[in-house]
């Protein structure tokens, strides 16, 4: 007679587990086209950061290249220390200048390092008619002794290419 009670208990437990497994597989996708628990921790950290509100996925990049669009792409990695310093200044600058700055996260789509020949993050690339025309490799300069660019250098890059297309 105890076995009957036990079976009810186990039955309820089993239903609960099945429900959990089902729910687990129903998690909504993030802007990266996959659920948050499939992302790297550093990417999860920036999901709600307004400085990363223009994420570009590989399909979109490939389509724009195929369509011969002219556009800016900021290749970054969510765990890259220099990107963390650079993005919070670069994104507002792009917004102020009316630049549609597409943001491509190489931590999540690593095969694009080779495909786009990116040697380091961040790298800002301008595509003219679907072909790369110029790039700036590196982030904001930390001091006079180190590699990198000033915010004015980035501004000049944006202003130089914006008239050629900014889709």
């Amino acid at each position: 007679m105890n076995a009957k009670k036990l079976s009810i208990f186990f039955g309820a437990l089993a239903v609960l587990i099945v429900a959990l497994v089902v729910l687990n597989n129903m998690k909504p996708d993030t802007v990266y086209g996959k659920p948050a628990d499939k992302l790297f921790p550093a990417t999860r950290d920036i999901l709600k950061d307004p400085n990363y509100n223009n994420i570009m996925l590989p399909d979109e990049l490939n389509k724009k290249i195929a369509d011969k669009d002219s556009f800016f792409v900021y290749f970054f990695a969510s765990d890259c220390p220099h990107c963390r310093v650079t993005t919070p200044q670069l994104k507002p600058l792009a917004d102020d200048l009316g630049i549609n700055l597409h943001q491509f996260n190489l931590r999540e789509f690593g095969e694009y390092f080779d495909k786009m020949n990116i040697e380091a993050t961040p790298t800002l690339v301008y595509f003219k008619d679907g072909v790369e025309s110029e790039r700036m490799q590196g982030g904001l300069k930390e001091s006079e002794t180190t590699l990198g660019y000033s915010l004015d250098d980035f501004k000049a890059f944006f202003e130089k290419h914006k008239p050629e297309g900014n889709s």
Partner: protein
């Protein structure tokens, strides 16, 4: 007697469920590329054996990983100024750590950290250049400080 059978089915489902959840992560194999925090790690027998994750990167990056064994000693002496030495979790101890996460009797564990890292790769480019110019380890150590330390 009947109640016992009633018990069997839910118990089996329960056991199956636990097994599913427990094995959901898949068997992890250190010699396959696998996640470790924000890095991908991959174990190989020695510094002469390149990790498969390198396929994703440019030729320059692949070359730099291939010379880590050659410059191991000096890479362990110099700091990396990409910011990784200030990580709250598992800060890097030297430039070597930007390429190799672990090194022990069972082999070396490569990390893909330097795949994206401009400073990590640029420092090694310079180490290779300065070594070829015949500079000593102490000279190279000083040059890294002069050229990469933002507070120098």
């Amino acid at each position: 007697m009947k109640a016992k059978w009633l018990l069997a089915l839910p118990a089996a489902v329960l056991a199956g469920g636990i097994l599913l959840v427990a094995c959901g992560g898949g068997g992890s194999n250190a010699s396959e590329p696998h996640r470790h925090g924000n890095e991908m790690w991959e174990q190989k027998a020695s510094l002469a054996n390149m990790p498969s994750f390198l396929d994703k990167y440019s030729g320059r990056t692949r070359h730099l990983y291939s010379v880590v064994g050659k410059y191991e000693e000096i890479m362990k002496m110099v700091n990396c100024y990409c910011g990784c030495m200030k990580y709250e979790d598992d800060p890097h101890g030297s430039l070597f750590r930007c390429y190799v996460a672990e090194q022990n009797e069972s082999g070396v564990t490569w990390t893909d950290h330097s795949g994206q890292c401009g400073i990590c790769t640029e420092e090694l480019v310079k180490i290779e250049e300065w070594t070829k110019q015949g500079k000593s380890h102490d000279e190279i150590h000083q040059l890294i400080e002069d050229n990469f330390n933002p507070n120098a």
